[in-house]
């Protein structure tokens, strides 16, 4: 089974499915097989959302436990939660900005220190790229493009068997023209972050 398993995790409304679909669309365009499993419905109302993306020759759209090659976490706690899919060779990209769940505000379990979360990730997997994607997107002037920054970072790892140009072409087919330039910048900035590391 030659496949690349990409697990994407975050909070409803962060553009998780959109981000993963862009990779899948680009893969199909490049002649690489792709299947995805998505979460729709009530879980999207601020709850944890995950999306499984598998490139290559597989049938199941869901990644087995411990078989993710790349994890893209849109929120630090959600990244840690998704580590059941990881093994010691997994590469992890994570947003560093927390999104505090209501359960914490209402006096439940405290939100763990982000440094502690990152240290745990680093102790478990092959590589961790901690990225201020939301801050980068804000700087570009398109806060909703944090997912594209993370997408660029995923491409920067070199794990995804696709050309950056193919991703750009896919973006240009799915994003309104007026937002395209900012999205290209978000993609490139993310790409540079992981390539520099």
């Amino acid at each position: 089974m030659s496949s690349l398993n990409v697990f994407v995790a975050g909070v409803g409304g962060q553009g998780i499915i959109t981000g993963a679909s862009i990779i899948a669309r680009a893969a199909i365009a490049a002649g690489v097989g792709a299947v995805m499993s998505e979460v729709h419905g009530m879980a999207q109302r601020g709850g944890s959302v995950v999306c499984d993306l598998r490139l290559g020759d597989v049938h199941s759209p869901m990644i087995p436990e411990g078989e993710a090659d790349l994890i893209i976490g849109f929120e630090p706690v959600e990244t840690v939660r998704s580590l059941t899919r990881a093994n010691h060779r997994t590469v992890v990209i994570t947003e560093v900005r927390p999104n505090i769940p209501v359960s914490v505000s209402l006096g439940g379990i405290a939100y763990p220190a982000v440094e502690g979360l990152l240290a745990y990730l680093r102790s478990q997997v092959a590589a961790v790229y901690a990225i201020p994607a939301a801050a980068i997107a804000e700087e570009i002037g398109l806060p909703q493009a944090a997912n594209v920054v993370l997408l660029g970072a995923a491409m920067g790892t070199g794990l995804i068997p696709l050309e950056l140009e193919t991703i750009r072409e896919t973006l240009s087919r799915s994003i309104p023209a007026q937002a395209l330039e900012a999205n290209f910048r978000a993609l490139q900035e993310g790409f540079e972050v992981t390539r520099k590391v």
Binding site: I28, G47, S60, G66, T84, S103
Partner: protein
């Protein structure tokens, strides 16, 4: 236009499609003229796509008030010679089942396909019932695809089979097929036939007792023909994994995907009988298949339906091949399967060790992580309604009431601090169960139902409650949409499923016309007024209806952003006393605690102002 490719795509084109999007393309390739539905996850995107493409593809599409009405629209249209499609979530077929059962008796003229999207593991449902029973209950053929490509292809097959047998065909998907995205190669589109002729034939279409007893005999004859088609079809096929060999597996739907991947992961070979036409089963071919293998493992999600059919058939034919599956707990009977669960079953069955990732598993995070269940969105109007109800109850000193809830985003009111969902059965059940609690307890009853759910199944329940002199407060949460499933229209709105103007039915006018003694419309963003309204309603001797009218914040935010009108709130830390009433009573995702005082996340705040109204020291104001 979004989804343009579904309309214009030519045979041979490739598209990356969600299973539900592929179902629409399949319906268009089959040349349907009419589609009708009521939204429900995991089937909702089928309707979302039809809303966009119906006009451009020459198809009539409607959101009916509920699944039963949708099925009836499609059945009558198919009886008139127009290929027709209705689709719903699994529990939607419960609602439609009364008419569905009879469509099997009276049959159809043009193709008539009923898609049921089941939800094993209850990702977004109140149960995980196995709707494959409905094919057996109604005696209709059933197809089960494994992926988006098959979903499209099987739709076309389903219409052909339906027309050939003059029977409705059930196409059953599950969440993992409906919400799987994959490459789909298109076929040709058959021309749309939008209008037919209804040729009257009462002995065939009117199941009065004299006719219906004959219909049942005829139906069983058709089921025999269906069995013949199932024996012949390539939808039921043998797939050799690895070297094939003498290990046999029978599987269906998404379980097929897991079986193939798990076999490869474990490095095992097997002959896999992939079932696509799953009722009636091709039992002759399965028996023949079993003769060439040492043992037969049946891998299916939820109920052991194929397993028991196969065991019964083998028993009556003296087939000695052992059949294993759920009866000996090899394959679980609850929740959806996946590669891990199937690999475990296969490892047990074949007596081989489980696969472990080469580099070893990671250590889990040592302490519990904060949970992140779905919550009411920032600015959600339901927050204001629940907050006002809780305040009214407190201010009047009402002993803890019973909260009868219903199906929608507002079921999230179950969580603290509102704790306003104590009992829930199904769409519309808040109204009927409110009467039951009122009759059987001394507690006051508050029930909640959404606008769409009210038209779905609340109307007749309300008539019943009024006539039987029940006493409870019914809130109709009128957020001007069917929010939870993705903002589909409902009969209280000014536009229909395809965006055309439509007569809007006023909920308050309906309630008044039915004779409700107390009807009040509130704006849930006005905390004091809303609380006063509930205090009045709680004293009414009869059914009191509060229509809490405020558009879903997700829609309102979109509109406000488009118009450039946007305000957020902030906490003046110098004024904030740290009482945290805003946190405890509103439980808004935008409010968090920082060093003992409330803070507002500007990114999440939608400017609804509810928190600013409940702050006792007026520390929350519009951010300048």
């Amino acid at each position: 236009m979004k989804h343009q490719a579904l309309v214009d795509g030519k045979a041979g084109d490739h598209e990356l499609l969600l299973g539900n999007e592929a179902a629409v393309r399949g319906a268009l390739e089959a040349g349907i003229g009419v589609a009708a539905s009521y939204p429900g996850t995991p089937s909702s995107e089928i309707g979302d796509v039809f809303s966009v493409v119906a006009k451009a593809s020459g198809v009539y599409f409607e959101y009916s008030a509920n699944e039963k009405v949708a099925l009836e629209v499609a059945a009558a249209s198919a009886a008139s010679g127009v290929r027709s499609f209705t689709f719903m979530k699994h529990v939607g077929l419960n609602v439609a089942s009364d008419s569905f059962m009879t469509t099997a008796y009276i049959g159809t003229r043009a193709g008539f396909v009923v898609l049921s999207a089941d939800d094993p593991s209850t990702h977004s449902s109140q149960n995980e019932q196995d709707n494959r029973y409905y094919a057996r209950l109604a005696n209709v053929p059933m197809l089960e695809p494994s992926n988006p490509q098959e979903t499209k292809d099987y739709m076309v097959e389903a219409f052909d089979i339906s027309e050939k047998l003059e029977l409705p065909v059930l196409l059953r998907t599950t969440t993992r097929v409906a919400h799987m995205r994959g490459d789909v190669v298109f076929g040709d589109r058959r021309p749309v036939v939008r209008k037919g002729v209804f040729e009257k034939d009462p002995p065939r279409f009117v199941p009065v007792p004299a006719n219906s007893s004959k219909m049942h005999v005829k139906l069983l004859g058709k089921l025999g023909e269906a069995r013949h088609l199932s024996e012949m079809t390539s939808l039921n096929r043998i797939v050799d994994v690895g070297a094939g060999g003498r290990a046999g597996i029978v599987t269906v739907g998404s379980a097929f995907n897991y079986v193939v991947d798990a076999l490869e992961e474990l490095g095992l070979s097997a002959r896999v009988f992939k079932i696509g036409f799953s009722y009636p089963l091709p039992l002759d071919r399965i028996r023949e298949f079993a003769a060439g293998v040492d043992e037969l493992l049946v891998v299916e999600e939820l109920e052991p339906l194929m397993e028991l059919d196969i065991k019964a058939d083998f028993l009556s034919h003296g087939t000695r091949t052992p059949v294993r599956g759920k009866e000996e707990l090899l394959v679980p009977r609850v929740h959806e399967l996946n590669v891990d669960v199937v690999a475990k079953a296969l490892a047990n069955h074949f007596g081989v060790p489980l696969h472990v990732p080469a580099s070893g598993r990671v250590e889990p995070w040592s302490s519990p992580l904060p949970s992140r269940p779905p919550v009411l969105c920032p600015g959600c109007p339901h927050r204001g309604s629940y907050l006002a109800v809780r305040r009214a109850i407190r201010e009047l000193g009402i002993p803890e009431p019973v909260f009868a809830s219903d199906i929608g985003c507002y079921t999230l009111g179950m969580a603290a601090p509102f704790s306003a969902a104590d009992y829930l059965l199904s769409m519309g059940s808040s109204v009927g169960t409110a009467g039951g609690f009122e009759v059987a307890t001394d507690r006051q009853v508050f029930s909640f139902i959404g606008d769409s759910t009210f038209f779905h199944a609340g109307l007749s329940a309300l008539a019943s409650a009024i006539h039987n002199k029940h006493r409870f407060v019914l809130t109709i949460l009128d957020n001007r949409t069917t929010a939870m499933t993705g903002h589909q229209p409902n009969p209280s709105m000014l536009t229909d499923a395809v965006g055309d103007p439509a007569p809007a039915i006023s909920i308050e006018a309906v309630a008044k016309a039915m004779g409700v003694p107390f009807v009040k419309v509130i704006n849930p963003y006005r905390v004091v007024e809303a609380t006063e309204a509930y205090k009045e309603a709680a004293k009414v001797d009869g059914v009191a209806v509060i229509v809490s009218k405020q558009v879903c914040s997700l829609l309102l935010d979109r509109a406000k952003r488009a118009k450039g009108i946007w305000q957020t709130f902030q906490v003046d830390r110098g004024v904030c006393s740290g009482c945290l009433i805003c946190v405890r009573e509103a439980a808004c995702p935008a409010i968090f605690v920082s060093e003992g005082k409330a803070e507002i996340n500007e990114e999440l705040c939608d400017g609804c102002s509810v928190c600013s109204q409940i702050c006792p020291v007026h520390a929350i104001g519009v951010k300048k």
